[in-house]
């Protein structure tokens, strides 16, 4: 083990994964011939064990079973030590260290790269280490201290493993930390939305800067997740619904009442999604477009919550009709590319088959209005099976 903080996956291979995906896009757009594609692919080898997403899910599930059953076996021998939280914490620490050594040997040996097994082990290690801190301090320290410990643990894990889920937890902990800290003071409660927005904006630009100075793609997925989260929390910090209900919750009001600076938050609720969408289309930023579409949905929900008396069925009908006409018009309009936008796909649809199944799930089960008339095929579909 050279350095326990250094990147664990083969950095060149990670870079080549991204290079190969660019090459695939070029092949799809017929910029490269098949021969050119094959020889370019060979120039950027990836030695990781290739595994499909479904195999990863399977590996993740069974790795977790192993981790738990191994802990179960150990608990048989060390049952006596479970009485005191200190010894329990030390057991957690030991188990975490053992798993850490296992993980760091497994990755190079099996050429794992986010294969499910390494993800499961990593999450188990982090839980063990955090569990250790919780147990030895007997849950007595203030929440903020635990947040800080968690932040440090997750940051180290992020630097070494560049895992997406760890990134999400890290950012979530950061926001939770600020939230807890601010809500301790009366003035903090008042400026909380602005603090969240400020932290989000700072995080966003820091990530952008990090992307610029980082020469490799090792952290690309983590960086992308962070960008998305920062944009999302920037919006959530300024969303009228969140601020109003959060304000009621923090001040223990039974029902939420009108908040200070309400017009400002109306502006944020409407303006931020619109800004995201317009800017993403101009800058060709797919992540921002995604966040823009999600946030505008939440804005509509916010509007309906306070200002609309339109019944839900009418809202759905009108909204649906609007969505359909809008997208049909947009698709027609973009048949020939305009404003550097196009409707032709930039990559192949690998999941055409699954798309069909998802459609089936989205279709409202109107066949059985009162749930009994038709006995609607409850035992069909994708194997839900609860209806038995």
């Amino acid at each position: 083990m050279k350095n326990i903080f250094s990147k664990i996956y083969n950095q060149l291979w990670v870079d080549n994964i991204h290079n190969q995906s660019i090459l695939k896009e070029w092949l799809f757009k017929k910029k490269l011939t098949n021969d050119q594609f094959e020889s370019s692919k060979a120039a950027f080898p990836v030695g990781f064990k290739h595994s499909n997403i479904f195999v990863k899910i399977g590996l993740f599930i069974f790795a977790n079973i192993i981790i738990f059953s191994a802990a179960g076996i150990a608990s048989v021998f060390f049952a006596a030590l479970f009485d005191s939280s200190i010894t329990f914490g030390i057991l957690c620490l030991l188990y975490g260290i053992i798993l850490f050594i296992v993980l760091n040997n497994l990755i190079p040996k099996n050429n794992f790269y986010r294969s499910g097994v390494d993800n499961a082990l990593l999450y188990a290690i982090l839980s063990c280490l955090f569990g250790f801190f919780l147990a030895v301090t007997d849950f007595k320290l203030p929440t903020l201290v635990y947040c800080l410990i968690l932040l440090v643990l997750l940051a180290i894990a992020l630097l070494k493993y560049a895992d997406q889920f760890v990134t999400i937890c890290l950012y979530g902990t950061l926001i939770f930390f600020c939230f807890t800290l601010m809500s301790k003071f009366p003035i903090g409660k008042l400026i909380l939305p602005f603090v969240i927005m400020l932290i989000s904006a700072v995080s966003y630009f820091l990530v952008k800067y990090w992307k610029k100075i980082e020469a490799t793609n090792y952290y690309l997925d983590a960086q992308n997740i962070l960008e998305i989260l920062a944009m999302a929390t920037f919006y959530i910090g300024g969303n009228y619904y969140v601020v109003r209900e959060g304000n009621a919750l923090l001040n223990s009001l039974g029902t939420s009442t009108q908040i200070d600076f309400a017009p400002l938050f109306y502006f944020f609720t409407v303006g931020i999604p619109v800004f995201y969408i317009v800017r993403s289309l101009m800058k060709h930023d797919r992540k921002m477009l995604l966040v823009g579409l999600l946030t505008i949905t939440f804005s509509i929900y916010t509007y309906r919550e306070y200002f609309s008396s339109l019944p839900v069925e009418w809202a759905l009908t009108v909204g649906g009709a609007f969505l359909i006409s809008f997208s049909v018009l947009a698709i027609r309009y973009l048949k020939t590319p305009k404003h550097r936008l196009t409707y032709s796909p930039s990559f192949e649809n690998k999941y055409r088959n699954l798309e069909a199944i998802v459609i089936n799930k989205m279709v409202p089960n109107t066949n059985a209005p009162d749930g009994t008339k038709f006995g609607g095929g409850d035992f069909g579909g994708g194997g839900a099976g609860e209806a038995y």
Binding site: A63, V363, P364, G381
Partner: protein
């Protein structure tokens, strides 16, 4: 790291010519931004919202004047959608029809959903089919299967399979029994098992005879899941456990082999998880009840370890035929 360093490497290794590199570089700089999937998703979302809204509207406005207008509107909309789809119909073929660019797929989907709403409503309000719920449930199945094959639409196919399932469910367990919640689950389980196997066979035949071979996945996934769940329910709840157990094992074996042949790993995951559940249940049934906790843990450790080994080395363990 962007595409420019990638291009440089390709140039250095003489995989592409300088002209091509310049061309790609130029095209990348003036790259168009594709919002294909975003617009598609919005369209699907719109269809879901609209049909859900219309479905709710009908039942909320029964006995008002506006009611008939809504029904008429839905009927017209449904007819327009079908008309549009028929107008743009392509000659029938047993192969896949590639028209991902067109809107026909969406109109057909909308038409089918609206048809379902209308049909359900007519039965509810006018009792068109009386108590023959079977007939009412069968009609959508027939219409959807026809549309799925004629228009080559996988989404409608999965709706058709759901409709078929509900028709058979209604026929096996009459509506009166559903209401009282005391329907015979053994019958339902066996029916689901048979229907699942039937769908699997249809899927297998489609692929084997190249009759809409791309429909195979939908049949196999839906049928496979149904058969797996039914066999597991049988194993957990009813007698003759060994038969159900063997069934799950056979299904698992088949889906793993199929997954390896077609490189379709969803089936691998299904086979492994359902098979593992059955084996674990079998282990708990066969062993004495008051076995040591330690041994159970050992079982999980060993079995999960074995499964992981199997998943990682699947390519070595099962060689696809003809490769």
């Amino acid at each position: 790291m962007t595409y420019s360093s990638l291009l440089n490497t390709l140039l250095e290794k003489k995989i592409i010519t300088t002209e091509l590199a310049t061309k790609i570089d130029f095209e990348e700089k003036n790259k168009l931004f594709s919002i294909h999937w975003e617009l598609r998703t919005l369209l699907y979302l719109g269809i879901t919202c609209l049909t859900t809204g219309l479905g709710m509207l009908i039942y909320k406005n029964i006995d008002t004047i506006g009611h008939n207008i809504i029904i008429g509107l839905i009927a017209i909309l449904c007819a327009v959608c079908f008309y549009y789809a028929i107008k743009h119909i392509k000659p029938f073929t047993w192969d896949e029809v590639l028209n991902s660019e067109s809107l026909v797929d969406f109109t057909l989907l909308g038409a089918c959903i609206l048809f379902l709403i209308l049909e359900g409503y007519i039965q509810y309000q006018y009792n068109l089919f009386g108590n023959r719920y079977g007939v009412a449930a069968l009609i959508p199945a027939i219409v959807f299967f026809f549309c799925a094959y004629r228009f080559d639409h996988r989404g409608v196919l999965s709706m058709a399979i759901t409709a078929l399932t509900s028709w058979i469910g209604v026929s096996v367990a009459p509506a009166s029994l559903w209401k009282n919640n005391n329907f015979n689950t053994l019958n339902l389980t066996l029916t689901a098992l048979l229907l699942g196997c039937f769908l699997i066979i249809i899927g297998w035949l489609s692929e084997k005879n190249s009759k809409k071979a791309h429909f195979g996945f939908t049949y196999l996934l839906m049928g496979g899941n149904m058969a797996f769940v039914a066999a597991l329910v049988g194993l957990f709840n009813f007698d003759y456990k060994i038969i159900y157990f063997m069934l799950v094992i056979v299904l698992s074996y088949l889906s793993i082999i199929y997954a390896q042949q077609k490189q379709s790993y969803l089936f691998l995951l299904m086979g492994v998880i359902f098979g593992y559940s059955a084996i674990t249940y079998g282990f708990f049934k066969v062993t004495p009840d008051n076995l040591d906790f330690f041994l159970y843990q050992l079982y999980f450790l060993a079995s999960a370890g074995g499964t992981i080994y199997f998943l990682i080395n699947i390519k070595k363990i099962i060689k696809p035929k003809g490769v």
